[in-house]
Amino acid sequence: MHNLTPFSALIGGVLIGLASSLLLIASGRIAGVSGIFGYLLVGKPGDRAWRAAFLLGLLATGLLFTWFQPSAIGASPRSLGALALAGLLVGIGTRLGNGCTSGHGVCGISRGSPRSLLATITFVGTGMLTVALVRLLGGAA
């Protein structure tokens, strides 16, 4: 476990928790990125401003780090084809399952949702299986 970074991971998690709490207490909304993104594109007009603002916040953070600390964002080792397929699966799966790591993993579990707990166990499980399979088929993890 030589790459373990428990302290920065914990702090990062606390910040994510604070951000999600801010969104909940201020706007009454779940900080589930797949849903925020999905309903920005396919949702009702009056419901878009806060979504766009949140996503722009994410994007702005990425821009800031790219300028000041580019190593903060690490590329995926996978091919463009794999990324295209992966994106498709993430898009379909998160809408079908109504959530992702933030929506189910953080927000859902935080309010004790059995749906979210099971969803999280499931996607972590298939995620691990997928990495194991890629490893088995010769790709590096």
Binding site: G13, S21, L89, G99
Partner: protein, 152 residues
């Protein structure tokens, strides 16, 4: 300042804070995320600490709002209420996990990573957009047909 404006600004602030949390937590390092999913290899358990920190803090917010009827700057809470487990949930989660394991990206970190200008991330996000929109449209269509048929 209008309530809607405050809501929008605070949502933007939440997005920035969320993004910083993702970066500090290592979630925007696809290799690190894959390391968490690599249980048969050099397992990096860091993501467990990210989740623990996030849930530990966010659970408090849910406790805090339990007596409230409305959030501070919007008309009502919009919190999912379903408790049932269905095939869609499990199938969706399963598919999402595969995509996550194939890339090391999930939605939040992918959008943050767009800020790097990477074409690879762009391809992932566009695909995610297409897959997501197609699914939502299909669901809406099927729901409409179902309620139409039920009326007959």
């Amino acid at each position: 300042m209008k309530r809607e404006t405050i809501e929008m600004l605070l949502s933007g602030a939440a997005g920035v804070l969320f993004g910083v949390g993702l970066v500090v937590g290592g979630m925007t390092q696809a290799e690190k995320v894959l390391g968490f999913l690599d249980i048969f290899g050099a397992w990096d358990a860091s993501l467990v600490f990210v989740m623990a920190g996030a849930i530990g803090v966010h659970a408090i917010a849910y406790w805090w709002i339990r007596g409230r009827t409305a959030p501070l700057f919007a008309a009502s809470f919009v919190i999912p209420q379903r408790r049932d487990i269905d095939a869609k949930l499990l199938a969706g989660a399963a598919l999402f996990g595969v995509g996550w394991g194939l890339s090391g990206f999930c939605p939040g970190p992918a959008i943050v990573s767009l800020g790097s200008g990477s074409i690879a991330v762009g391809i992932f996000v566009v695909s995610m957009l297409l897959g997501g929109v197609a699914t939502m449209k299909l669901e809406a269509f099927l729901n409409a047909r179902h309620s139409g048929a039920a009326r007959e």
